[in-house]
Amino acid sequence: MDTKDQTVAVAMSGGVDSSTVAAMLCARGHNVIGLTLQLWNQRRLARHDGVPEAVQGRCCSLDDVYDARYVAEKLGIPYYVVNQESRFEHDVVQPFVEEYLSGRTPIPCSLCNNHLKFDQLLITARQIGADLLATGHYARNEYDGHSGRWILKRPADLSKDQTYFLFGLTQEQLSRTLFPLGEMRKPEVREEARRTGLRLFEKPDSQEICFIPGGDYKLFLDAYLDEQGEAIPDTAGELVTTSGEVVGTHDGIHNFTVGQRKGSGIATGSPLYVLEIRGDKRQVVVGGADELLSPRLRARRLNWIAIDDLREPLRVSVKIRHRHEAAPALVEKVSDDEVLVTFDTPQRAVTPGQAAVFFDGDVVLGGGWIL
């Protein structure tokens, strides 16, 4: 696709990746507009106990906007901050809080991609005259003439693969998106940034959830609910084994994630893990490492990318969390919007609230949310 004459909006976070994308597109002769999504006021909860006052090197911190603005100015491109704080809170932060409080483990980055970056930001980009939106995600997309569909593929640098968070993209969104880093490795990106003269080429990667300073989500839940004039609902209850035996108590289901180590067995002394969180009964089910293995999972709210629908059972490999080696499985429909995934080998810690993303080699077939 020749995109040279097209106007491209770049989603600039102030980090190395998206800054380099902007520089590369300028070098290729595109008409480039820089946009930064302002999603969360990092100082908002700073008054609360334990929440760090100064947050550096994080999305939406003033430092990052400053860095993005510096890059835009250096490249000589128009640059704007687009404020979507209220939408982010409604579509990402609130569901994140609700999921934790009901005993699931949410992925805010996917929600943000679906609702903010590739939805609202793409709309804004097109409204202001851009044909395409480019981001610094490590992923590849291309039009497949054979199937007549836009497909999403894993990037050249598999250690930076972000396709897991992108399974919700629609055909329309994929057709208007550029992932210029898809063929590059991270060291090459830093080298490109250095070569272009971007002084932030050594800026560390962001690792954590952007709106949770310090990465302590329990602290965030406390501070956020307190700000809303609410308290964390009392979900204290029992620790039980799979056979129903009560082996202890816990002080709230939001403190647990499936797969997390939880003390040792009284009789055996072998490590115990969280197997399941029963939100309605306030129970946390614990057991040995062997019990953490699941032969299957169910997923809902599906999105298909490489195929228009799942018509018959399909051999795929499945990722059940971001850092998971895709496992071979059979995926089949059990209803209009629910699939059953049966692994060839049982997988550890299938976690409700996370996504199951289906691959055919490098190609993302689609995905859904684990029940």
């Binding site: 404020n83 709309i123 804004t124 097109r126 005259g129």
Partner: protein, 389 residues
């Protein structure tokens, strides 16, 4: 690319005559107005000459003018200079943040503040001012011309009420000065804030009118500048620029430049309303400054419209410059009853004396084109149109 600037309420370009008047005071005519020597005397003469121009603009005595750094300082000096813990202040919900946040601070220091509501046109009912009076009311502070809508309050009536009640009356005239004639005797205000850069003067210079006999505590302590009301070496070039801008502003009421601005503003409103559906001028029925119009373009995000227009060469804003990028929709527009969505869909066009009929023609060609594109891509607009069909 051609660029047209219609954001003169944020700041207005320096007129060349103003710059020429200032230039020597940066260079050969430098001086500290408090010095005894020739440079000092020259500087003093220039400062006092500027003070005369301000006095003429406001119809007051030169000694009643205190030079400041601008609108925010003037508002703060008026409020903190008069009000003490235990006092009551009457203000409105549509003040500039320089007054609103100063009032919040006064509240935290132990003052009571009443924030008067406005009607659908953003007008304050003077009867509400009267009804809000208490035995400990020290000050009434009401904005003269609003920065977002341009609405002019009935400051004459409010001044009467204040005088009858023997309460100080301050008005923030930052957006009114130079756009409508101001006579502090007729308004009967005790304090009035203005700034140079909203009337084609330099940023960093302003004035506070302080009626003779008003005991004002300074905010900054130092030398006896400005009759001990505002310490600090006078900003010589800035004050000269302010004086020149005031002189030009005063002439503007008779030389036709204000009328021309008003007719161009009216042309913007008329054309936008005639060419586009789902648009409405905020505060259209109220008395307004002649350069400002605030228009709701339903079903779109003002922020995206400002960016789209900027990329095509037209500078406008969603409201107060300091509100841009903020989460909350304009407090002025919501106070007059607009929903948050409509407040966010509102755009302010504010003209200056430099704007020509050609500029307005350029803007009026661009606006419908951009609004149409934005709406075509707006899920909200699509829903609104299909539900109506």
């Amino acid at each position: 690319m051609r660029r047209v600037y219609l954001d003169n309420n944020a700041t207005s370009p320096l007129l060349p005559e103003v710059f020429e008047a200032m230039r020597p005071y940066f260079l050969e005519k430098f001086g500290n107005a408090s010095s005894i020597h020739q440079q000092g005397q020259q500087a003093r003469a220039a400062v006092e000459n500027a003070r005369e121009h301000l006095a003429e603009l406001l119809n007051c005595r030169a000694a009643e003018i205190v030079f400041t750094s601008g609108g925010t300082e003037g508002d703060n000096l008026a409020l903190f200079g008069l009000v003490s813990p235990g006092d009551h202040v009457i203000t409105s919900a549509i003040e500039h943040h320089a007054v609103l946040n100063a009032c919040k601070r006064l509240e935290s220091l132990g003052c009571d503040v009443t924030y008067l509501p406005v009607d659908g046109r953003a007008l304050i009912d003077p009867h509400d001012v009267k009804r809000a009076l208490r035995s400990n009311t020290k000050l009434i502070s009401i904005i003269f011309g609003n920065n977002e809508t341009g609405v002019l309050q009935d400051v004459g009536e409010i001044g009467k009420i204040a005088a009858e009640a023997d309460v100080y009356f301050h008005t923030d005239a930052v957006q009114a000065a130079g756009k409508v004639p101001i006579d502090v005797k007729k308004i009967a205000c005790d304090l009035l804030t203005l700034t140079a850069h909203k009337m084609h003067g330099p940023i960093g210079a302003g004035a506070l009118f302080v009626r003779k006999g008003t005991l004002l505590q300074p905010m900054m302590y130092g030398g006896r500048h400005e009759r001990s009301r505002r310490a600090g070496t006078e900003n010589l070039p800035g004050i000269v620029g302010l004086g020149k801008a005031a002189e030009i502003a005063r002439n503007g009421f008779s030389d036709g430049s204000v009328d021309r601005m008003a007719s161009l503003r009216n042309q913007v409103e008329k054309t936008v309303v005639e060419t586009l559906d789902k648009v409405r001028v905020n505060s259209v029925g109220a008395p307004r400054v002649p350069n400002t119009t605030n228009i709701v373009f339903d079903c779109l995000e003002g922020e995206a419209m400002v960016i789209a227009l900027d990329l095509k060469g037209l500078s406008v804003s969603t409201g107060a410059a300091c509100s841009s990028g903020a989460i909350e929709p304009s407090h002025v527009l919501t106070a007059m009853g607009l929903s948050p969505d409509r407040a966010r869909a509102s755009i302010r066009f504010s003209l200056g004396k430099q704007n020509t009929a050609d500029d307005i023609g350029f803007a009026l060609q661009l606006i419908p084109e951009v609004v149409t594109r934005l709406r075509e891509l707006s899920p909200v607009y699509k829903r609104a149109v299909s539900s109506r069909a």
